[in-house]
């Protein structure tokens, strides 16, 4: 372990080689864990026809940080798979919405727990599972259900991804990750679900062995590329003001 470092020097290097048509998981729930710098690099990198998986396409708030919605605006996205694909208030409009309404991008709207479990299933070699979420709703129309012990469940399939873009607090050179507080959210399961896991790291990358094995949140064997986030203004470090 750790003979070779997984650290790369820049965000651009970190996203190099992501292919057109890739399915990409974007970590984060609200601000914590959102890979703003890697997303910005992907906007520059320009991969096309992406399938973007994340909790949301990005809200209507300003100032905006790089998100799936910006990739949509940049013409890089074929489809999104999210638990939010519209604005909570009818008066708000997501940047994503006009593209969706014009049919320029497709969307799959998934209950958040189902999204999490489909990612986890992909990372666990479980191709499909049953869940009670969504039964009896429009989402279940025409889909396969099954009654188990007297209750109706919906069949859901694993959601494997080609790439995960994540942000965490600490990492060592072997790729072991630690998230801080609510930053953990989708991070560990997106790492499990993805073939290429790329992480922007807030603290300087630690030498292998600096993280106690009991305190690792994502084991390094799941992680391929790490990049340390330089101080602002060379990188995106959102402030409290932007997220209120």
């Amino acid at each position: 372990m750790g003979k070779r470092s997984k650290v790369v020097a820049s965000f651009d290097e970190a996203v190099a080689g992501i292919a057109d048509g890739s399915t990409i998981a974007f970590g984060g729930f609200a601000l914590p864990g959102s890979p703003f710098n890697l997303t910005a690099a992907l906007l520059r990198q320009g991969a096309k026809r992406l399938v973007c998986v994340g909790n949301t396409t990005g809200g209507p708030r300003k100032p905006r940080n790089p998100d799936i919605g910006m990739l949509v605006e940049n013409g890089q996205v074929a489809k999104v798979i999210c638990s939010f694909t519209a604005a909570p208030r009818a008066s708000d409009v997501l940047p994503f919405t006009p593209y969706y309404e014009r049919g320029e991008v497709d969307a799959e709207t998934v209950p958040q727990g189902t999204l999490a479990e489909r990612l986890r299933a992909a990372g666990a070699g479980v191709p499909a599972f049953y869940t009670p979420a969504g039964v009896g709703t429009q989402l279940a129309e025409g889909r396969e259900t099954r009654v188990i012990n007297g209750r109706e469940y919906l069949l859901e399939y694993a959601l494997p991804c080609d790439v995960a873009l994540l942000r965490c607090y600490q990492a060592d050179e072997a790729g072991n990750l630690r998230f801080r507080r609510a930053q953990r959210n989708f991070g560990p399961i997106m790492a499990m679900a993805s073939k290429l896991v790329i992480v922007e790291v807030e603290e300087p990358i630690l030498p292998a062995g600096a993280i106690d094995p009991d305190e690792v949140h994502t084991p390094g064997i799941l992680v391929q590329r790490l990049v340390h986030i330089p101080p602002a203004p060379d990188a995106i470090w959102p402030t409290l003001k932007e997220t209120r």
């Binding site: 914590p32 909790n55 694909t85 519209a86 009818a90 999490a116 979420a133 709703t137 507080r181």
Partner: protein
Amino acid sequence: MPWSRPQMAERLAREFQDGWIVNLGVGMPTLITDVDMGEKEITFHAENGVIGFGPVAAEGHEDIHLVDASRRFVTLPPGAAIVDHADSFALIRSGRIDVTVLGTYEAAANRDFANWKVKGAKGGVIGGAMDLAACAKNVFLMMEHRTRDGTSRMLAECSLPVTARGRVNRVITELGLFEPTGAAFKVLDVAPGVTIDDIRAATAAPVEA
């Protein structure tokens, strides 16, 4: 006089039982973290894996890594724990959440509700609501009784696509606290100065006083 939103939060929280694990939806339900629970031990669970969170942080004491499911900068009292999204929804689907309090567009006497898709919208605003609605032991709704144009949100059956069927236990509005019974909304409490006739006039479903 109808209840204010903090009064609605306070009244609804009186329905919580000691020891409950409580999940709060975005918007109005977040007011419940401000309610004094007295002797009751209540644990707040957020979809993003924050278990046992406390009140919103005082200004200047926010932790940029620590938000609840409504993006509020919250605090962590002793005994709190963090899990990932899969484990957080594992707690939800396995029935560990005693009550979820959700905002909604519509509540129905048949115990359905609709809070994820407005008319004509492409896409939806599901978040964790479908998992919570299907699996929490109790589903409480918190909402305005009518839309701004005066249309009732309290219906016999939902007009919008439902979030879950037959799962609602309580609905609180500015006018009162209700239990949907299948056929009607049963009145459990009424805001001061509000009459049953006021409620009937504002409700597009049978009301059982």
